[in-house]
Subunit: 395 residues, 2 copies
C-alpha cells in the first residue's frame, strides 16, 4: 500500500514551484526574456574556473579506484580536515577533522543535525519569516516545528514571541542568517542576546538546547559587511553549510555540518551523524565533488552581481515608497505588499509579467519575496515595469 | 540533548568494519600485501575510460550554470529517460521517464522505496542471508524488519519459513539477487513461485505487497549466465539499482529506483519519492555524475576479474572438502565454516592473516563470507595460505 501521508503531500503544491512553472510557461508564449521571473533561488553566476579545473585534474590524474572508491561515511578524512582548517582560520574556532561531517548540501546537513539533537515529540523553534522546506525537514524527523512570530520592525528576533514559544520540549532552535526570504543578517547584538537567552533556558529546563545554524548564504554579504558567525556566540551550535550558493553548485549537493568543539559530545557528534546516515540513505556526498570543493575551499563565484541587483531593486522600491528592509546579504529582498494582501498583490503583478512570491509560505503575511539571482541586464529591464506596476497598483 | 538511540548505536560496532580496520592495522605491521583481506566489498577494477572522458567533456563543454544548477528532485529528466530506455530495451518492460527516480546509490534508492510502500508498524520481510545494513535501512523508516530463515540447501527461498513469516502486516518483501553475501542468483523458478505466492497474499490480505528488489550486483554474473530480472515476474516491483559495482563508482553515490509500469500508482510513485526526499535530506544525486553515467549507460567496468577470482577460490575450497555453493555472480563466496562455529573459525584464520567474515551478521550461523574484489595476483597468493589454514584447522 502506498503510504497515504506522502500521497497526500502531492496535492499540497509548492507556491514557489507553481509560480516558477507559470513563468516557464509564460516564457514559451512571449519569450522568456520578457518574463521577469523573481521566483526561484537558483544561482545565476558560474562556478569558478578553479573548480572546473580541479574536477578535470582529479579525473585525469587520480587512480580511478581510489578516486571513486567508497568515501568514509563521515566524508573524506582529508577533505574534512581542510574544511576544519579553513573555518578555524576564518572564525577563530578550534575546529578539527572530527568536528566536520560532509553532507549532500544543506538539506543533508539539516537532516543529520536535526535528528542528532532531538527525539520524537520534541519541538524545534524557527523564526518567521523562514524557508518553507523547514516544515518537512523538521516534521519528518519526528520532532515538531514551532514558529516564532516575526519581528516585523527589523526582521531580527521578536524576543517576546520567542519567550512565548519556548518551553521544556524545545531541544533545538533553527536560525538562518543571512536569511531566506528577507536578506537580513542577524546582528552581533541579536546573536549575543540569543546565546544568553538559550543558555538561561538550558539551565531552567536542565537539558541542552542546540542552535542549528543554516548558512548557505554565508558568503553573500553586501556593503563590505561581515556576517557574524553564530557558533562564536553559543557553544552548542551546529553550523550547516552548503557550497550551492557560494560556488554556484546547487546541483552537486555538497555541504557539511561543523560541530562547535565546545558543544556537548562534540567529539562524537560527527560519528552519530554517520549512524543517522544509515537510516536515511545518505552515506556521503560524491567523492570527486568532495575533493574538488576542498581544492578551492577559499574561492567563491563572483557574487558581486547580487549586490548590484540588490541596489537596483532597493533603490527603485524605496523611491516608490514601498516599505522594505535593505538586504545585507543573500539574493533575496522582502518588501511589504501594497495594500497588505500579498496574494492579491502578487496576482496583480503577473499581469505585468512580474513573478513575485507572496509571503504566506514564509510564515508571515503581507510581504513578498523577489529572488534577484538574475543577469543585471534583466533586473535593469524590470525596473520600469516594476515602476509601472506599483504606480498603477497604488491607484 | 543528543538522541540516545543514535548514541547507543555507537557501541554496536560493525564486525565487517572491525575486521577491515584490523586488516589495515595488520598491514601496517607486516605490509598490506601480506594480509589476505577478504572483508570489504569495495570494487577493485577501475571505472571505464568512457566515464572519465564523459566527466571531463561535460566540465569542459557545458555552461557551468546549466551543468551545476539544481537538478529536478526526481533526477535530471533526460537522464531518467535514458535509464528508462535502456531498461526497456534490456528487459522488455515498457519503462518511461516517469517510472525512474535518480538516487544517491542503492542506499538512497532503498530509503525511498521502503518509505513509499510502508507505514510505521508494517513489516518488511528479508531473506537470510542478507546484507546487515538492511536492519537500519528498514527499521529507521518506522516499519520493522522480519527475517525469513535461510534455505540452507540452495540459498534460494525457504518457502516454509516464508509462509511462517508472512502475515497481514507485511507490506513489502526485500530481495537481493545476485546476493550479498552468498553470490547466489535467484532462479527464474524461484521468482515465478515468489510472484505467485505474493499475488495470493495480496488477495488474502486485501492490500498490496511490494517487491523491493535490491540489484547493485545485477551486472556481475558468471559462466555467461543471465540474472532473471525480478520485475518481469511481479508487477508491484520497485527495482533499486546502483552503479557502484557495475562501473566501480561506489564513492559517487549514483543509482535509481525503477517502478514497474504495471505497479499500483506507477505513474505517481516517482513523485511520491520526491516528497519523501524532502524529509530525509536527499534532493538528488550530483547533477554532473547523473549526466556522466547516462552517457555510458550500456558500459560496465571489466568485471571478468571477479569470475577468475571466484574460480580460484571455489576450486580450492571444494578441493579441500569445504561445503560451498558456487556463486553465480557478485564478488562474494559464502562457504560453510568447518566445525560449525563461524566466529571461532574466522578467529583462527586471522593467525594466517586471512581476514574472513563470520556469517552471524548476515542472519545465519555457521558460514563465512569472502569478498574477492581483489587483484587476482593476491587471490592466487592466498590459495596456499588458505590450504594450509584449512588443512591444519581440520586436525
Amino acid at each position: 500500500m502506498i503510504n497515504p501521508k506522502f500521497k497526500a503531500m502531492l496535492s499540497a503544491r509548492s507556491v514557489i514551484r507553481e509560480l516558477s512553472e507559470y513563468a516557464t510557461q509564460r516564457g514559451e508564449e512571449i519569450g522568456y526574456e520578457n518574463v521577469f521571473d523573481f521566483s526561484l533561488g537558483n544561482p545565476s553566476v558560474p562556478v569558478t574556473e578553479g573548480y572546473t579545473r580541479a574536477v578535470i585534474d582529479i579525473h585525469e590524474q587520480m587512480e580511478p579506484v581510489e578516486l571513486h572508491g567508497y568515501s568514509p561515511s563521515l566524508g573524506n578524512t582529508k577533505v574534512r580536515g581542510i574544511v576544519a582548517e579553513s573555518l578555524k582560520k576564518r572564525f577563530g574556532i578550534p575546529y578539527d577533522t572530527r568536528h566536520i561531517f560532509m553532507t549532500s548540501g544543506a538539506a543533508g546537513a539539516l537532516a543529520h543535525a536535526l535528528r542528532a539533537v532531538t527525539v520524537p515529540g520534541d519541538e524545534v523553534l524557527v523564526f518567521a519569516p523562514f524557508f518553507p522546506e523547514y516544515i518537512p525537514y523538521i516534521n519528518e524527523t519526528g520532532a515538531n516545528i514551532k514558529v516564532v512570530d516575526a519581528d516585523l520592525e527589523n526582521l531580527q528576533i521578536n524576543w517576546e514571541a520567542l519567550d512565548k514559544a519556548m518551553n521544556e520540549k524545545v531541544s533545538a532552535v533553527l536560525i538562518n542568517s543571512p536569511n531566506n526570504p528577507s536578506g537580513v543578517v542577524y546582528s552581533e547584538e541579536t546573536l549575543v542576546r540569543l546565546a544568553g537567552y538559550l543558555g538561561e533556558c538550558q539551565d531552567r529546563y536542565g537539558h541542552e538546547i542546540f542552535l542549528i545554524s543554516d548558512e548557505p548564504y554565508r558568503e553573500i554579504v553586501f556593503d563590505g559587511g561581515v556576517v557574524p558567525y553564530p557558533s562564536r556566540y553559543y557553544d552548542n551550535t551546529l553550523s550547516c553549510y552548503s557550497f550551492s550558493k557560494s560556488l554556484s553548485l546547487p546541483g552537486e549537493r555538497i555541504g557539511y555540518v561543523a560541530v562547535n568543539p565546545k558543544a556537548v559530545d562534540a567529539d562524537i557528534l560527527a560519528i552519530i551523524f554517520g549512524q543517522i546516515s544509515r537510516g536515511i540513505g545518505h552515506n556521503c556526498p560524491s567523492s570527486s565533488v568532495q575533493l574538488a570543493v576542498a581544492s578551492v575551499i577559499e574561492e567563491t563565484s563572483d557574487l558581486s552581481v547580487y549586490e548590484t541587483n540588490r541596489d537596483l531593486l532597493y533603490d527603485c522600491l524605496t523611491d516608490l515608497g514601498v516599505d522594505v528592509i535593505k538586504p545585507a546579504g543573500t539574493f533575496y529582498i522582502f518588501p511589504k505588499a501594497l495594500g497588505g494582501d500579498a496574494a492579491e498583490f502578487c496576482r496583480a503583478a503577473l499581469k505585468y509579467d512580474l513573478v513575485l512570491v507572496p509571503s504566506d509560505n514564509f510564515g508571515v503575511e503581507g510581504f513578498f519575496r523577489m529572488a534577484y539571482c538574475l543577469d543585471t541586464e534583466k533586473v535593469e529591464r524590470s525596473i520600469p515595469v516594476l515602476r509601472k506596476f506599483i504606480t498603477e497598483y497604488k491607484k
